[in-house]
Each structure stands twice: as C-alpha cells, then as structure tokens.
Amino acid sequence: MQYFPFVVVAWILGVGLYGVVTSRHLVHQIICLIVVQSSTYVLLLGVGYVTGAVAPYYFDVPVHTPAVDPVVQALALTDVVVEAAVTALLLSFAVQAHKRFGTLDPQELASLKG
C-alpha cells in the first residue's frame, strides 16, 4: 500500500502515452495528452501527502494542525492552468489541420507534405 498511489501514476501515464502513440484522430490524441498530464497531478498530490493531516487551510481548524504540503498543491494548480492553455492551443491547431488537409488522422497527416 505504501507505493500504491505511485503505481496509479505509472498506470495513468502509461495508458495516456499508449493512446498518444496509437491514436488515429487528433482530438483523441489531445485528450490522451490530457490523460498523460493528469498523472502529474496524482504524483504531485501523492508526494506531498501526510498521513492523517488536513488540507492546508486554517480557516476552520486551529493553526498548527498538521496539514499536507501546500507547495505541491500550488504546483498542481499551475499544472491545471498550463494544461488548459496547452489544450486550447492544440485544439485550434487541430481545427486548422483539418481545414488544410481534410483529415485528422495523425498517421495520414505524417505522410502529407507541406
């Protein structure tokens, strides 16, 4: 059980990467990339977890109650924002690729020129 969350991370990462490699549709591929990135959320939150601790918010619990690491949680927030930005950009590239080449299959796109 001690390493279980990190096994979950590896599983999400592996599944996402497999999807990226074998994808036959750009939108599907972008969603697989989101899955890959989700593994980093689990990793960050897993690294900072402290058994029996509360969330790092002292609004309604006394200050100095043991809490989990707030730094990795802040990093996870950054991660989410960057993912949203990357996804928006990639999806707009997919729209233009479809307009220009008439296909969204990455394996066909690779064989096209210009």
Partner: protein
C-alpha cells in the same frame, strides 16, 4: 513507419521509462510520509506572515508570486495564440452573424435548456466572484473563480445564440479586461520595487483577522487581477473556437 512498428518502439521506450520510474520510486519516502521541510516551514509561518488561512493561495500569490506571474502570462500567450491560429485564412470569408436562411426550419433551443442556462447564469457569476474574492480564506482563488465566471458567458451562449454571446463579450472589451488583469498583477509587483522592496513583496496592511476578506494584503488584490485575466482569456478562447465553427467559411 507502420502501426505495428510504432507499437514496438513504444513498448521498448515504455520499458525503459518504467525501469527509470521504479528506480526513482525506490528513493521516494513512502506515501503519506512527506519529509518536508519547505511545506512545513510555510505551514508554520504563513498565517502569521500573511494573515491568509488559505495557505495554497499564500504560496501562489505571495511566496511563489513570481512563478504565478509567469503562469498567468502562459495563459495570456495561449489566448493570443488561439486568436492568431484561428484567424481568417486566405481563401476564407467571415459570414455575418445573422441567420442567412430565415425561412429554413431550425430546431429552436429547447425551453428546458434555455431556462436552466438562464437560471444558472446569475448564481454562477456570484460563485465565480465569491471564489475570486476568497483566495485568502478558502480553497479558492482567481484561477478557479475566473474559469467559473467564464462559464457564465458560455451559459449565455447556450441559452441564446452566438450573436448574444458576442454582444455580452465584445472582443475589444474582453481584450482590455484581459490586459488589465495581466498588467495589474505585474504592476502590483512593480509598485513594490518603486517602494524599495523586492518584486511582489506583500506591502499592504495584512488586516486584523486572519482569513477575513479584507486580510492578507496583496494576496487578495493579486487574486482579483488573476480572476479578471483568467475569465477574459477563457471567454476569448471560447469565442474564437465558436467563431471558427459558426462564422468562418471557405470561399471569398
């Protein structure tokens, strides 16, 4: 490369990655045994130093404020990039946002969707504003609040038409709000430099009660500007994608 070859290359690479991951895992402390020290140091000091009870916000908008500035500009750049990528290309025309065939039988938005979307719009705006203004107290902040506020504009689109969405979020106004949001964050930092402090030092009075809306100095202010920036950026991105789908056609 065929699909089968690609899969073999992937499997070989994945095996290597798995080996490295396992090797790294062996050096990690087990789950739930975070050794610190940075998180614990911040947990001890944050409430006293910043008067914020939301320590994640204190990290984001104060201790790691400079990183968050970069993060905000990533979003800013992505919104600008989406606008550039989805521009009208040569050989395309933008048709006017009106119904070109008024006589054709378009299924109208159902009353149930319209009602639900309209009923949600107000509460969603209030919730977004609440999240944006409570960064220093609760699990909330400008990033979360901004996205929720942007959702309200998508609800306007759902309950009406694209033209209504456009009327509620004209591009020049959304652009200006986004610039104010991004620039405001940077300006708060520059103001600290002008006072002879380090960039993004929390120089405002921290308030008496920890976690109150008026507490925590620049954390609340930065969260407000981030909320503006995020809301405007997501409205712009949604607007660009909708415009691309609905208005831009091939031909000149």
């Amino acid at each position: 490369m065929t699909a089968a070859q690609r899969r073999w290359v992937f499997l070989a690479a994945a095996a290597g990655l798995a080996a490295f991951y396992l090797w790294g895992l062996l050096g990690l402390p087990g789950f739930g045994r975070y050794p610190g020290p940075y998180g614990f140091v911040i947990l001890r000091l944050a409430v006293r130093q910043t008067s914020a009870t939301g320590i994640v916000s204190a990290v984001n908008f104060d201790y790691r404020g400079f990183d968050t500035l970069g993060e905000e500009f990533i979003l800013f750049a992505a919104a600008a990039g989406t606008g550039i990528v989805l521009r009208r290309l040569r050989g395309e025309r933008e048709r006017p946002a009106v119904d070109e065939a008024a006589d054709r039988d378009v299924p109208p938005t159902s009353g149930a969707v319209r009602m639900a979307a309209l009923a949600c719009t107000g509460p969603v705006v209030v919730m977004g504003w609440w999240l944006t203004s409570h960064a220093q107290a609760n699990p909330s902040g400008g990033f979360q609040g901004g996205v929720v506020v942007a959702t309200a504009f998508i609800l306007v689109y759902l309950s009406g038409e694209f033209i209504v969405f456009k009327r509620f979020s004209p591009v020049h106004l959304t652009d200006a709000v986004e610039a104010v949001g991004a620039g405001g964050f940077a300006a708060i930092g520059v103001a600290a430099v002008a006072m002879g402090l380090a960039y993004l030092t929390n120089y405002l009075p921290k308030g008496q009660v920890a976690g109150a809306v008026s507490s925590s100095g620049t954390i609340a202010l930065i969260s407000f500007f981030v909320g503006l920036e995020v809301a405007a950026a997501f409205i712009l991105i949604a607007g660009e994608l909708l415009e691309q789908t609905l208005l831009i056609r091939r031909g000149s």
